[in-house]
C-alpha cells in the first residue's frame, strides 16, 4: 500500500498557492469613459484604436495622477491649484487608512466611491440599485447650486450638499464629519469633475479633430497635443474659479406682516402656478403631484439614449457599463421633500435658475417690453409651493406618516 500522504501534501500546497495568487488585487484605477468613446465612434464611424486609448489614458495619468496618487498639473498659471488644495486631495485619495503620522487618507473611498465610483462616474457597485442614480461628475453639471445653468457650482454649494445630503435620495448627510474632512472631499469631487470633463473633451478632440489612428500626444512631438490639453484644462478651471462670482443673488421677499398679506401671496402664487407665465402644471401637473410630464430624461441619460430609448445601440451602452435609463419625474410638491434644500433661498434658486441637467427650466424673468416673472412673483410662487404639503389634499398616503398603531399606555 503506497503512502497517500504524498498526494495530500502537494494538493494542500497547491491550494495555498492558488489562494495566495488570488490574494492581491490591482490598485484601484480610473476607468475610461467607454460609453462616450462609443458614442463618438458611432458619430464619426471611425473606431478608436487601442493605441489611441492607451495614449489618452497615459496623458490623463500624467496630468491627474491615479486614484492613489493624485496630481495637479502645475505649469505657470495653469493648474487645478487655483481651485483645489493638494493636501486635501491626498487626504481624500488612496486606500482607506492613515499614514505613518496618523493623518487619514482614503476618505473618498471610505465614504463615496461605492456609489459615485472611484472615477466619479456614478458607476460604483451600489449605483445600479439606487433611485435616483448617484451623480456622474464628469460633465461638470450639478443640480442643486446657487449658480445658473451652464455654470459650475460654488464650493459652498458642494459643501452644502455634503453636509445636508440630498433629502429623498440615497445621498446621506455628512454633517458629522470633521470640517477638514469635508473640505478634502469637496476638493476631490472638483478634481474628479475636472478630470472627467477633460477626459470627455480629449475624447471628443481625438474623434473630431484628429486623423484616424493619430495619437493625441505624440511621444516624439508632444507639444501640440499638450497645448490642446492645457487649453481645455484652463477653460475648465476658469469655469470653476468663476463660479462664486456667478452665484445668483436672492433678494429679500416682499414684506408680509399680516395674515391677509400671506393669503394674498398664496392666492397670487396659485394663480402663477396654474398660469402660462410659469407653466408649472405642464410638468408638475394640475394636482402638483408631479404627474404632468413623466416621459422625459435627464441630461446624463439623454446624452446617450435620446428620447427614443428603444433605438438599437442601448444594449451596447449598457454592456459598456451605462446604467439602464430611467425617466426623470417632476417633483411631487405635496410631499414636502425638497432635494436641494428647504430654505427659501434654496427654493428661490430652483425656480429662478431651474435645475441644471434636468428639464426644470430657469424662470423667464420680466424684461422691458416682454412678459416674465418678477422677483416678487417668484416669492409668491414659493409661498404657494411651501404651503402645498399642508393642504388637506396632501394628506399623504405615501411614506407612512399616518399612524396605524399608536402604542397607548395600558
Amino acid at each position: 500500500m503506497h503512502t497517500p500522504r504524498s498526494i495530500i501534501r502537494p494538493l494542500l500546497l497547491l491550494g495555498v498557492v492558488a489562494l495566495l495568487v488570488g490574494c492581491r488585487a490591482e490598485d484601484a484605477r480610473f476607468r475610461m469613459d467607454m460609453v462616450y468613446v462609443r458614442k463618438q465612434e458611432n458619430a464619426t464611424e471611425i473606431p478608436f484604436t487601442r493605441a489611441q486609448l492607451l495614449n489618452l489614458s497615459n496623458v490623463l495619468a500624467a496630468v491627474f495622477g491615479t486614484p492613489d496618487d493624485p496630481d495637479i498639473l502645475i505649469d505657470g498659471d495653469i493648474g487645478l491649484h487655483e481651485i483645489v488644495d493638494l493636501t486635501n486631495l491626498k487626504m481624500a485619495a488612496g486606500p482607506v487608512g492613515s499614514d505613518e503620522m496618523g493623518f487619514p487618507h482614503g476618505l473618498y473611498r471610505e465614504h463615496c466611491s461605492h456609489c459615485h465610483g472611484v472615477t466619479g462616474n456614478g458607476l460604483g457597485p451600489t449605483a445600479a440599485f439606487l433611485n435616483p442614480y448617484p451623480r456622474d461628475y464628469r460633465q461638470g453639471i450639478y443640480k442643486f447650486k446657487s449658480t445658473p445653468k451652464g455654470s459650475r457650482p460654488t464650493t459652498e454649494d458642494l459643501k452644502t450638499v455634503l453636509i445636508n445630503g440630498v433629502q429623498g435620495t440615497a445621498m446621506p448627510s455628512f454633517a458629522l464629519l470633521a470640517d477638514d474632512e469635508i473640505d478634502a472631499l469637496v476638493d476631490y469631487v472638483k478634481y474628479l469633475s475636472v478630470r472627467g470633463k477633460i477626459e470627455r473633451d480629449l475624447i471628443f478632440e481625438v474623434a473630431d479633430e484628429l486623423e484616424e489612428k493619430e495619437l493625441l500626444v505624440d511621444p516624439e512631438e508632444p507639444d501640440d497635443g499638450l497645448e490642446t490639453v492645457k487649453m481645455y484644462l484652463t477653460a475648465e478651471v476658469r469655469k470653476w474659479a468663476s463660479a462664486s462670482n456667478e452665484a445668483t443673488a436672492v433678494p429679500a421677499p416682499p414684506a408680509s406682516s399680516s395674515d391677509e398679506d400671506r393669503l394674498d401671496s398664496l392666492a397670487r402664487g396659485r394663480e402663477l402656478f396654474h398660469g402660462t407665465l410659469a407653466n408649472c402644471v405642464k410638468c408638475h401637473g394640475e394636482t402638483a403631484l408631479g404627474d404632468g410630464q413623466t416621459t422625459d430624461y435627464d441630461q446624463w441619460t439623454i446624452e446617450i439614449f435620446t428620447k427614443e430609448p428603444q433605438q438599437p445601440g442601448i444594449g451596447e451602452f449598457v454592456a459598456l457599463g451605462a446604467l439602464k435609463p430611467r425617466n426623470i419625474l417632476p417633483r411631487n410638491l405635496r410631499h414636502g421633500v425638497y432635494r436641494g434644500g428647504r430654505r427659501p433661498i434654496d427654493l428661490y434658486w430652483r425656480v429662478r435658475n431651474g435645475i441644471d441637467g434636468t428639464p426644470m427650466p430657469a424662470a423667464t424673468m420680466k424684461q422691458p417690453g416682454q412678459k416674465g416673472l418678477t422677483e416678487a412673483d417668484i416669492w409668491h410662487l414659493i409661498d404657494y409651493v411651501r404651503s402645498l404639503p399642508y393642504e388637506p389634499l396632501s394628506n399623504p398616503h405615501y411614506g407612512g406618516h399616518e399612524a396605524v398603531v399608536e402604542r397607548q399606555r395600558l
Binding site: 451600489t126 440615497a170 452665484a247 445668483t248 443673488a249 430654505r343 399642508y390 407612512g400 402604542r407 399606555r409
Partner: protein, 277 residues
C-alpha cells in the same frame, strides 16, 4: 494526557473570568471595553440588572467549571484506581437542582418587571387629567420634544417649533443632529419611512425598533452634558452602518438658542453673492 486535558478545561473558568475582570477593572489591554457611560436617570435599573445577572451567572460558571475540572482530574481512567460508581442517578439531587434554579429564574423574572415597565410601558404624563388619577383614559401625555424618522440611511428629525405642534409650518427639519435639554424628561416620537430601523442611544440605554406604519414613543432623562452616538440597531440595507447620528445634551438655554438658530437658518430668504468662496 488526562492531566493536560483537565487543566485545559480548568482554563475555561479561569481565563473566562479573567477576560471579564480585566475590562471591568479598566485594565490594559481592555481599557474602556465595558458598558458605555450611562448618562440617563433610568439606565441604572438596566445596568443593575445586568450586573446582578453577571454575578449570578459568574458564580454558576465558576462552580460548574471547577466541578468539571475536578471530575476530569479525579476520575481520569489512567489515574483512578477505584471501581466505577455504578449509579443511575439520584432522585434527591434531581429535585434540588430543579427547584433551586427554577426559583432563582422566577425571582429574576419577577424582579425585573418594574424596570421593563418603566422603559416601555409608562410613557411620561404631562398630568393625570381632570380626574387626577394616573392610568385612566383622561391622562394627558407629555408632548414629544422631537419626531425622529428613520430612513435609509439617516435619522430625519422634526422639532415642533415655537407653536409646539408637529406638522405645522414652523417645524424645524434636521438630519442626524439631535439635541435635547439636560435634566429634563424628554419624550420622542419615532417612526420609519421605509424599512425597519432601530433607534439606539447607547449612553441613555434606549433602544426601539421603528416600524413603517407604526408610531412609537421613547423617553429618557439625560443627566450629563455632552455628545453621544445614535446608532441604528436593525439591519436596514447596505447603509446600515452609515446611520450614525449625534445626540447632544446641553443646558436648556443652549438648547433654546440652538433651536432658534436652526429655525433662522431654515428660513434664510436672502443671499448676496460674496467676492470669493
Amino acid at each position: 494526557m488526562g492531566r493536560f486535558w483537565s487543566i485545559l478545561f480548568l482554563m475555561v473558568p479561569v481565563i473566562g473570568v479573567g477576560l471579564f475582570v480585566v475590562p471591568m477593572a479598566d485594565m490594559w489591554p481592555m481599557q474602556n471595553h465595558w458598558l458605555p457611560e450611562d448618562i440617563s436617570e433610568h439606565g441604572a435599573s438596566i445596568d443593575d440588572l445586568y450586573y446582578f445577572i453577571l454575578y449570578l451567572t459568574g458564580v454558576i460558571f465558576i462552580a460548574t467549571g471547577l466541578t468539571l475540572f475536578w471530575f476530569l482530574w479525579r476520575y481520569d481512567a489512567a489515574k483512578n484506581p477505584d471501581p466505577v460508581k455504578f449509579a443511575h442517578g439520584n432522585h434527591t439531587l434531581e429535585v434540588i437542582w430543579s427547584i433551586v434554579p427554577a426559583a432563582v429564574l422566577l425571582f429574576i423574572a419577577i424582579h425585573q418587571m418594574t424596570a421593563w415597565a418603566e422603559a416601555k410601558l409608562r410613557r411620561p404624563l404631562e398630568n393625570s387629567g381632570p380626574d387626577g388619577i394616573v392610568g385612566t383614559a383622561d391622562d394627558v401625555y407629555m408632548k414629544p420634544l422631537v419626531e425622529v424618522t428613520g430612513r435609509q440611511f439617516e435619522w430625519r428629525l422634526r422639532y415642533p417649533g415655537a407653536d409646539g405642534e408637529l406638522g405645522t409650518r414652523d417645524d424645524i427639519y434636521l438630519v442626524n443632529d439631535l439635541h435635547v435639554p439636560v435634566n429634563e424628561e424628554v419624550v420622542m416620537t419615532i417612526k420609519s419611512d421605509d424599512v425597519l430601523h432601530s433607534f439606539f442611544l447607547p449612553n441613555v440605554r434606549v433602544k426601539q425598533d421603528v416600524v413603517p406604519g407604526m408610531r412609537q414613543y421613547v423617553w429618557f432623562k439625560a443627566k450629563k452634558i455632552g455628545t453621544y452616538d445614535i446608532v441604528c440597531a436593525e439591519l436596514c440595507g447596505w447603509g446600515h452602518y452609515k446611520m450614525k447620528g449625534r445626540l447632544t445634551v446641553e443646558s436648556r438655554e443652549d438648547f433654546d438658542r440652538w433651536i432658534q438658530q436652526k429655525y433662522q437658518a431654515q428660513e434664510t430668504s436672502q443671499f448676496t453673492a460674496g467676492p470669493g468662496d
